[in-house]
């Protein structure tokens, strides 16, 4: 049985008239078990592989190998399907045209699916909306599957109107989680990130075909370790308070503020997807009415709920004090993640400005990113930034854009922009 714990990091002391309360809530899960094996329903996996004409022979061969490696990681008993995607989506396995569109994994289905993957041929364009729509249909055809996850591989830009993709993303949101990977450098990071963020998944670049197999294996292994099918973050705030934002800040920055659904007038629920043995950090900011010095109140209860069961909670407090030594301090964790959140924004905005030809803005923003990465000890971001800019002064954030940049390095910086590091003790 999975166990959850919560810890709160904050400076609860507010100055006279202070209203804004910030806290980092760390939620940790242990004993999660294996997806679909904990008695709470069945797990379903769909592997979606781009089979458009743009997939070169080498990439296609690697993609087949990768899909087979992922297949090998799926635990027996798990419901699964294989989708081949081009300008339309095709159900490659199971080969059915009606009824349940997924089958349970066993030795036979595994070998048949492997054969189906081996028969992939690249042709046609790329219409990712149809891939997502088919996945929704397939999951819907097996109602007992309540933990739904897909991995999606593409190598090219989506060739359809963006409103089509937006509609498909909306349609899939809350239905399944999706980890997305881009092969090579001909795909759009922002486009694929939009899918991954909405579907509570990860996004990354696979620059070289030979790295594909290991990535797929890892992705599916992680998915299989998520024994907790679905959890929601619940935030209670007192009457009259305002939730300024709710963000996941570790392992990646994901703004959840707009994904609130009301449980009741005071409690909002935010999706967090499935959990393995892991810990995640959330940054919650709440505005409360100021009280008199000496008064204490609860600013938020941050809870994790499985269905309607609250499994852990952390209390975010506010105490008004006239002691400026107490009130002036910013909690170390809050400061750290505030910096990391800005770092992600600076990288994305800097790269967007660079792509738009605005070198001045790009230089300023990426310079700020270099400074923040150094200050918050994000070594991965620092090393990825240094492949895109020459750093004159790390402390001041003075940089110059490199004249020649490997496209893959730039995309890797972009996909990794939301990854955060934990505070160094």
């Amino acid at each position: 049985m999975a166990e959850f714990t919560a810890a709160v990091y904050q400076n609860e002391f507010l100055p006279d008239g202070g209203t804004d309360v910030n806290a980092i809530v760390t939620i940790a899960c242990s004993g999660a078990g294996t997806a679909g094996q904990t008695g709470g329903g069945s797990a379903g996996e769909i592997i979606i592989v781009d089979t458009s004409g743009s997939m070169g022979p080498q990439t296609m061969a690697a993609a087949k190998q990768a899909a087979q490696a992922a297949l090998a990681e799926i635990v027996d008993g798990t419901w699964f399907a294989i989708v081949a995607g081009s300008d339309r989506a095709m159900l490659a396995f199971p080969k059915v045209s009606s009824g349940p569109g997924m089958v349970q994994m066993d030795a036979e289905s595994r070998s048949q699916a492997s054969e189906a993957i081996g028969a992939f041929v690249g042709s046609g364009g790329t219409a990712i909306s149809t891939w997502l729509d088919l996945a929704v249909t397939l999951f819907a055809s097996v109602p007992e599957v309540n933990q739904r996850h897909a991995i999606l591989l593409t190598d090219g830009e989506n060739r359809e109107g963006s409103n089509k993709l937006d509609a498909a993303i909306r349609n899939a949101t809350g239905v399944f989680q999706c980890d997305c990977r881009g092969a090579g450098t001909d795909w759009q990071v922002a486009e694929i990130r939009r899918i991954a963020q909405a579907l509570l998944g990860t996004v990354d670049i696979i620059p070289q075909p030979e790295q594909m197999q290991a990535q797929f294996q890892e992705m599916m292994r992680t998915a299989m370790s998520r024994g907790v099918a679905e959890a929601q973050l619940r935030v209670w705030t007192p009457q009259g308070a305002q939730v300024l934002f709710v963000r996941q800040v570790s392992p990646t920055v994901e703004d959840l503020t707009d994904r609130r659904t009301d449980v009741d007038a005071l409690i909002g629920s935010y999706p967090t997807g499935a959990w393995s043995d892991e810990s995640r950090d959330y940054h919650v900011a709440v505005r409360v009415a100021a009280k008199a010095i000496g008064q204490e109140q609860l600013a938020a209860r941050v809870q994790l709920a499985l269905g309607t069961d609250v499994v852990t909670q952390g209390l975010v407090k506010a105490t008004w004090s006239g002691d400026s030594e107490l009130t002036a301090k910013i909690d170390q964790q809050v400061a750290h993640y505030t910096g990391q959140t800005e770092l992600a924004a600076m990288i994305q905005e800097g790269l967007a400005a660079k792509a738009a030809g605005d070198e001045a803005t790009a230089t300023t923003k990426l310079g700020r990113a270099v400074k923040l990465a150094a200050e918050t000890g994000n070594d991965e971001a620092t090393s990825k930034l240094r492949k895109v800019v020459d750093v004159d002064d790390e402390k001041e954030g003075t940089v110059r854009l490199k004249r020649t940049i490997d496209k893959a390095d730039e995309m890797a910086l972009d996909t990794a922009s939301t990854k955060t590091t934990r505070i160094k003790k």
Binding site: T237, P238, Q239, G240, A241, L266, V288, A292, I293, G294, Q295, E296, Q297, L298, A299, R301, L315, K317
Partner: protein, 381 residues
């Protein structure tokens, strides 16, 4: 006490629980705690919620916790909403005071009190202990101690002292040899015993080698029919506030401000001056002199006996100011009025702990009264 419910929040407990799953507080056998004062007498239909854990660290075992009222927690002190097991309001989030920080007693429908931390202090060093017979106006004892800030464990000491004094005052006061003088002398001796019992309790709690031994003021008022008898050490007060007539401050403070007033300074100037809250006599290991000032008065009209700490009179020292607040509250229910006066003091800033103990006098109880004159009598000891 049965071990099946939490003494702090009333939640059900597992058979061998060491901590309450509801509120997280340790679940000890209350009877095993040292320094346990006698529980309220059966006639004291008490809402006394005991002392609970104290906000500030202390050196000694807290005074035992008494049972919570039936049905668990009180509604939120701020908005009246439900209070969760973690002591925060589920509606407005306000932190609920611990039972030591805010407690109420209502031993009979005509007697009630509120003892509250106020706003600025981090713990409640005031204490009160009340008792009353169920017949309105028959007999009541109201004891208030104000623990001195910056002394060790004065929150513990004041509560232990108040309860010890209440036990001494439980039996009816002696009538003496028949003359008012002999009666006053006999009564003075009882109050001296009550002060001594309170002082002994305070000293008993004093940590060994303390450089700041706990100390407290003392004020007690006894209503017996139409006779009100009172005694004090320090600057906690008793007032008589008849309905629709001028009220009177009965006790005389042992304070620097009182000395200044006697030397001709105005009340306002003296009480708000730098020495306004310096007391000249107190209870505790380093007490200079324990003899209380004792007095009595005949209650010949409907009205209120008020016993309070400076947390209230800081904001309404003159009897007229108190009468105005009583009129503003517009109630003859003592519990509601005690809450209203506490709320008034908090609204004014709540700079100190606030204790308000009240007895409602309906003025119809002349039967049990001694036939003494209405004038106030006083004795220094």
């Amino acid at each position: 006490m049965s071990a099946t419910t939490c003494p702090s929040c009333g939640a059900e407990l597992a058979a061998d629980a060491k901590f309450c799953e509801g509120c997280g507080k340790p679940v000890g056998d209350p009877a095993a705690a040292s320094g346990t004062p006698p529980a309220a007498a059966p006639d004291a239909a008490s809402e006394d919620l005991g002392s609970g854990p104290i906000s500030a660290p202390t050196h000694i075992t807290p005074v035992a916790t008494e049972a919570p009222p039936q049905g668990g927690r009180r509604p939120c002190v701020s908005c009246g909403g439900n209070v969760g097991p973690d002591q925060y309001c589920e509606q407005c989030g306000t932190k609920q005071p611990s039972e030591r920080d805010h407690f109420r007693e209502a031993p009979a429908p005509w007697v009630a009190g509120v003892c509250d931390r106020g706003i600025r202090h981090t713990r409640n060093e005031d204490a009160m202990a009340l008792l009353a017979s169920s017949t309105a106006g028959e007999r009541a004892a109201l004891v208030v101690l104000d623990g001195v800030s910056n002394t060790d464990d004065s929150d513990q000491a004041s509560l232990a002292g108040a309860r010890a004094a209440r036990e001494v005052l439980r039996t009816p006061l002696p009538r003496g040899m028949g003359t008012p003088e002999s009666r006053l002398s006999a009564v003075t001796s009882v109050f001296a015993d009550a002060v001594k019992a309170a002082n002994d309790a305070v000293v008993a709690i004093t940590p060994e080698g303390s450089d700041h031994p706990p100390s407290a003021t003392f004020v007690a008022a006894i209503v017996e029919g139409s006779t009100l008898t009172y005694a004090n050490v320090g600057d906690s007060r008793a007032y008589w506030l008849p309905d629709g007539a001028p009220g009177v401050q009965l006790t005389v403070d042992d304070s620097a401000a009182q000395l200044q007033m006697e030397a001709g300074m105005s009340r306002l100037e003296a009480e708000t001056g730098p020495q306004g809250h310096a007391i000249t006599r107190w209870l505790g290991r380093d007490a200079p002199d324990l003899a209380p000032r004792v007095g009595e008065r005949t209650l010949d009209a409907p009205g209120w006996v008020l016993v309070c700490s400076d947390g209230l009179w800081n904001y309404a020292s003159e009897p007229e100011a108190l009468v105005a607040q009583i009129a503003a509250a517009g109630t003859t229910e003592p519990g509601a009025l005690a809450l209203a006066l506490t709320g008034f003091a908090n609204a004014q800033g709540g700079q100190d702990n606030i204790t308000v103990a009240l007895a409602r006098i309906d003025g119809q109880n002349a039967d049990a009264a001694p036939t003494d004159k209405a004038e106030q009598k006083e004795s220094d000891g």
